[in-house]
């Protein structure tokens, strides 16, 4: 933990609090009022003890006792108000952070999401941020209150006798120094523990997601064993963390006990010397007790502090992770269907196995292109480059003549759409799943999009029907159609269909193909499939193999040439019955 890191963490926290500054200031004032009351109570008792020693009568004692009682009651009521105020402020503030993080994470690369499970990300965006909010709501308030109480006590004691004030100041400083020293080790152990827990929960989330497959495979025992291994890690790191905390606990308890002992002995000595009164000696005792409560709580809450510290570290790390895809574009390609031009395009994952090498391709505006090749030939990666989910390692890619990096991301996203291989659905309404939670499109528009792809049954059952949670789900075929509906709604200038029609039966496939052909009109389309029958309606064909383009040309030309790779692939396909509209494959 370098100081630079520490400084930036405080900066981050400060910038988090700034928008709600007024709230925090009011909170500060309330806490100060509470601190003032807390210090006054023992002063009343001091006066009571001295007056009793001087031989005051019962009624005076009663009066002083009543004052003390009133102060005690008021302090507690104020404490509840402070708690409410602090919790509201903390949650408002950290919800802002939560949203910021969610936004940031969603903007991160495909690479990032590949290597981080959703369970882990939930722990970061929700779990870690909750730790920070508990820190702000509970700990900061208590710490601020304690600090004010201690400062006030030192002032009061100094007024009585400067040596007492000095003594108290030295005592508090020593106690704090000792606690702070133990902190650093506790921080790293706490962060490790959170990491182990993240892996444990991430693993569980994964198994739950894959639950049906695991059940069907009789994998319960295997999962149970992995769980034991992950839990052992969690236990070991928890014990390490506790050990680090206990070191601090020893110091704090020693400090508190030392405080009592010194207050007693010092008090006896000073009273004997006639320097202070009995009441003042008792005040010393009461003030040491007052200090010990926050000191003990510091260690108690230190766990919250360390959790929050570890959480802040991870939050900052996550926020510092940058998407490699940077939105610096300012040039818009011409309106209308986009052309796609690649020259010497290369891509690899940083290892020595290039996924794409030297790809040269020119797709005219409005043309539909079928991209074929074995699995792993690079065609999926090519589509990711066109969608700008990843950046090429070499070469250039241009849409509508504009290099893809120069196009503003928002514009790119609205003009380029994807019908993916695996349709991702959400727990939400049918409407939510088509519009992706966007309230903009009208119900009529959503209904039209669904009807266009043949999902009339969904429209008739009601767009507000819940999917996934309470309502029934969709079959794989229906999900594919829904993905098409999503694209219809967006009306893009370039469509990438990634093995979209692979999972449906021939009749529905025919329906789908008609809808897809409909969709391809007036746009540039890239259809990536290994089902050759889906390529019936495209203009051009591109064949990928081993990360390179080994053949490209118009479909009719390639089909006619028996020596072409494409024709040979077709022949091997042994495809089912042709449609009535076409007699040759």
């Amino acid at each position: 933990m370098t100081t630079h890191r520490g400084a930036s963490r405080w900066d981050a926290l400060a910038s988090l609090l700034r928008p709600d500054a007024a709230r925090w200031v009011v909170l500060g004032l309330l806490v100060a009022a509470g601190a003032a009351l807390t210090i006054t109570g023992p002063l009343v008792v001091r006066r009571l003890v001295d007056r009793a020693a001087d031989g005051a009568d019962t009624s005076e004692i009663v009066r002083l006792a009543s004052v003390f009682l009133v102060i005690a009651v008021t302090t507690q009521m104020l404490a509840v108000v402070v708690t409410w105020f602090a919790t509201v402020a903390a949650w408002r503030t950290t919800n802002g952070l939560r949203m910021q993080m969610a936004r940031h994470v969603l903007g991160l690369d495909h690479e990032f999401h590949r290597t981080h499970t959703p369970g882990e990300l939930i722990q970061r965006v929700d779990g870690d941020v909750t730790s920070v909010s508990e820190f702000l709501g509970k700990v900061v308030t208590k710490a601020a209150g304690a600090a004010m109480v201690v400062a006030g006590m030192i002032v009061v004691l100094t007024v009585i006798d400067w040596r007492l004030g000095l003594g108290m100041a030295v005592y508090v400083a020593a106690a704090l120094a000792v606690v702070v020293r133990g902190r650093h080790r506790a921080v790293s152990e706490s962060s490790d523990e959170m990491g182990a827990l993240g892996r444990l929960y991430g693993g569980i989330e994964e198994r739950l997601t894959a639950a049906e497959d695991l059940r069907a495979s009789g994998a319960a025992d295997h999962v149970a064993w992995r769980f034991v291994e992950d839990s052992e890690e969690a236990l070991t790191s928890a014990v390490r963390r506790e050990r680090a905390f206990l070191v601090m606990w020893w110091f704090v308890q020693a400090a508190v006990a030392a405080g009592w002992v010194v207050a007693l002995v010092l008090g006896a000595w000073l009273v004997d010397a006639g320097t202070i009164s009995l009441g003042t000696a008792f005040l010393l005792f009461q003030y040491v007790l007052l200090v010990s409560r926050p000191l003990e709580e510091v260690v108690h809450e230190l766990e919250t502090v360390q959790k929050a510290n570890g959480a802040m570290v991870r939050v900052l790390d996550l926020m510092a992770t940058e998407a490699t895809v940077v939105d610096e574009g300012r040039t818009s390609p011409p309106a209308g269907p986009l052309s796609v031009t690649a020259s010497a395009l290369c891509f690899d994952y940083g290892d020595d196995q290039p996924v794409l090498s030297d790809v040269d391709l020119a797709i005219g505006s409005g043309r539909s292109v079928g991209i074929v090749g074995r699995t792993g030939s690079g065609k999926t990666t090519f589509s990711r480059l066109v969608l700008r989910l990843v950046e090429p390692t070499d070469g250039t890619l241009a849409l509508g003549g504009v290099p893809i990096a120069d196009i503003p991301l928002a514009e790119l996203r609205s003009r380029v759409a994807l019908v993916p291989q695996e349709v991702e659905l959400f727990a939400g309404t049918v409407r939510d799943n088509v519009t992706l939670f966007d309230d903009g499109p009208t119900d009529v528009a959503v209904g039209d999009a669904l009807r266009r792809v043949g999902l009339d049954v969904l429209v008739d059952a009601g767009l507000d029907r819940q999917l996934g949670a309470a309502g029934s789900g969709l079959s794989a075929g229906q999900a594919q159609l829904l993905a098409l509906a999503r694209v219809w709604l967006r009306d893009p200038d370039l469509v990438v269909l990634d093995e979209a029609t692979a999972r449906v039966d021939p009749e529905t496939e025919a329906r789908l193909e008609a809808a897809v052909a409909d969709l391809m009109r007036g746009r540039t389309s890239l259809v990536i499939a290994h089902r050759l029958s889906t390529l019936r309606s495209v203009d051009d064909i591109v064949v990928f193999e081993g990360g390179r383009i080994v053949e490209q040309g118009s479909r009719s030309q390639l089909v006619g040439d028996d020596d072409s790779r494409f024709a040979r692939l077709l022949a091997m396909a042994l495809e089912p019955a042709r449609t009535p509209t076409e007699t040759t494959p």
């Binding site: 295997h222 064993w225 009592w260 007693l264 409560r293 290892d351 529905t508 290994h530």
Partner: protein
């Protein structure tokens, strides 16, 4: 929820249980007891040390009282001795808590692990008595494993605190009572007030906690879905709408969290105030004695010291009551994941060697006995969801070594049919008979797993593990593994990987292409050489050549296969082709 949601309605975590919400008030104690006895040694040892830790302050306070008496009398030497006694008493206390805390940390994790292991086992069980209702959203379900388990551990923790506080309070009661009976008596007022007040707020605490949990589950549920579908969100530029929805959920959760936390903190602050209020009352009641000098400084010190610690008990009792309610809510939520939705199944005894000091050996993987398949008969199979009939009176027979293809339009019920054969349709009502060699299969989910039956789903899920473990899901021999990879036509791909079969696959197997995942999952289905292989649309992510290889390879193994397919290559090789339309068989 990353996989495509196939037909059945998923179980809703927040659905109202048929049991009344208060039904756990009695049981929580016994359930928590059983959880604590999972690792009894750690629990009892930790508890004992904490009792010492909580009761030592009685000695410290008494010694302080004597010290201040000596101070008031001007006897400095005696004061020093009493001060020394304080130091000694505190040292004993600190040693006790050092060891106690370390042991309790372990106990804490042990208790949560028991609950987690039981829930996980119930969700992973292939049929049988242990199987629980499948959970809806994995993201939302994490709150059970994270927060609900912690709530139960917190409750046991609270019991330890309260028992310690009780011991201290009893001792303190004696000491204070013998010092000044009337002052001691008046203390009952504030302490009782705290206890009553927190009891009154009990039901509120439980309501607020349940509401907060539900709101949190909504937030984590959406986050999980969205993180899993990050590509879709990004490509569709849906970040803003998604974030707007998230904001709504997050705001709602803020409100529930504030209510929950404030009440909890309020209760605590309230009981802390009891100490000062108590002191005020003592001063008031003893005013006369103070004025006359019979209530000495030492007694005042004694009361002041004890009061600081005395308020611990009402605070802990209040907190315990709140925690009991929270534990009740937690058990109520956790039981939904286990068999019969019975909370008893969350605390079943289990061996969990998670302490490094434990002797650990991996238990053998238990699979059902292999029953070689001669005939597989399905008759009158009907699958209904509520009033919707998904599969209607389907019947067919498969002989040993046959290759049966099932086809039909989208939504015809093919997946439902296959999954109900294997007992995976827990949310539907399934009727009809399925016979293996003429014998009715009682618990399909338990029987129809490798080595008897294996399943490849439409969207196969892999896990973060090595290739070998993803295929074997338990120890397998090198030969078995190699054979499975070969049949699934993925051997070349694995050889090309950096560590071969020991290569780790990334989160949910995303490091592989769609086709590789499909083939790896196929290898997983085949590795135990199942009698019956059930494949739901295997050809979807594969190109024609690869699929051809697969059918050819499968044919050489002689396994009995039931597969969904729409391709000529499949129809041509099939012994039977069954066509399903709107749940009914229209044979071809």
């Amino acid at each position: 929820m990353s996989s495509i949601v196939v037909e059945p309605p998923q179980h809703d975590d927040d659905s109202v249980s048929p049991l009344p919400p208060g039904s756990f008030d009695g049981n929580v104690w016994s359930l928590a007891w059983r959880v604590s006895q999972h690792r009894a040694r750690e629990t009892w040892l930790g508890w004992s040390l904490f009792i010492v830790f909580f009761s030592m302050p009685a000695a410290t306070g008494y010694l302080l009282g004597r010290g201040y008496d000596a101070l008031a009398d001007g006897d400095t030497t005696a004061t020093m001795w009493w001060a020394g006694g304080v130091a000694a008493s505190e040292t004993v206390r600190m040693v006790a808590v050092h060891h106690g805390a370390l042991i309790w940390t372990k106990a804490w994790i042990h208790m949560q692990s028991l609950l987690r292991a039981n829930m996980l086992a119930a969700q992973m069980a292939s049929g049988g008595p242990e199987a629980g209702q499948p959970v809806g959203s994995a993201g939302a379900a994490i709150t059970h494993f994270r927060d609900d388990a912690e709530d139960v551990a917190n409750f046991v923790d609270g019991v330890v605190d309260v028992s310690g506080g009780l011991v201290f309070t009893v001792i303190a009661g004696f000491v204070l009572g013998s010092a000044d009976p009337s002052a001691a008596a008046i203390l009952v007022v504030p302490l009782l007030g705290v206890a009553v007040g927190t009891r009154v707020l009990d039901t509120r605490i439980k309501e607020y906690r349940a509401a907060d949990r539900a709101a949190t589950a909504h937030v984590t549920g959406l986050l999980g879905d969205v993180m899993a579908a990050a590509t879709t969100v990004k490509v569709n530029d849906a970040t803003e709408p998604v974030l707007r929805r998230l904001q709504t959920l997050v705001d709602r959760r803020r409100r529930t969290a504030v209510r929950d936390r404030v009440l909890e903190e309020g209760v605590q602050a309230f009981s802390q105030g009891a100490a000062d209020v108590g002191l005020g009352l003592v001063l008031l009641v003893s005013a006369g004695a103070i004025a006359s000098g019979s209530f000495a400084l030492g007694e005042l010190a004694l009361f002041t010291a004890y009061l600081g610690w005395l308020s611990f008990l009402p605070r802990m009792v209040g907190r315990l009551l709140a925690r009991r309610k929270q534990a009740g809510v937690a058990f109520d939520r956790m039981r939904r994941l286990v068999a019969d939705e019975s909370a008893d199944n969350t605390v079943r005894r289990r061996v969990l060697p998670i302490d490094p000091a434990d002797h650990r050996s991996r238990p053998p993987v238990v699979r059902p006995a292999r029953v070689p398949l001669e005939r597989f008969d399905v008759s009158g199979l009907t699958v209904t969801y509520g009033d919707r009939v998904a599969v209607d009176d389907v019947g067919f027979t498969v002989g040993r070594g046959e290759f049966v293809v099932i086809t039909g339009p989208v939504g015809a019920g093919k997946s439902t049919l296959l999954r109900s054969l294997l007992g995976l349709e827990r949310n539907a009502s399934v009727s009809g008979s399925i016979r293996w060699n003429g014998v009715e299969i009682d618990d399909r989910a338990a029987f129809m797993i490798p080595p008897n039956a294996a399943f490849l789903s439409q969207v196969p899920q892999l896990i973060s593990d090595t290739v070998a473990d993803n295929v074997g899901l338990g120890p397998v021999t090198v030969d078995e593994l190699a054979a499975a990879l070969r049949i699934a036509a993925i051997t070349d791909d694995i050889v090309a990987m950096p560590a071969g079969v020991d290569t780790m696959i990334g989160p949910r197997g995303l490091r592989l292409s769609g086709g590789q995942r499909q083939r790896l999952a196929t290898a997983r289905a085949l590795v135990h050489v199942p009698e019956l292989v059930v494949l739901d649309d295997l050809s979807s992510a594969l190109d024609v050549e690869t699929e051809l290889h697969l059918w050819e390879n499968l044919a050489t193994t002689g396994m009995t296969v039931i597969a969904v397919s729409h391709r000529a290559v499949a129809f041509e090789r099939a012994d039977q082709v069954l066509r399903l339309e709107a749940g009914r068989l229209t044979c071809r």
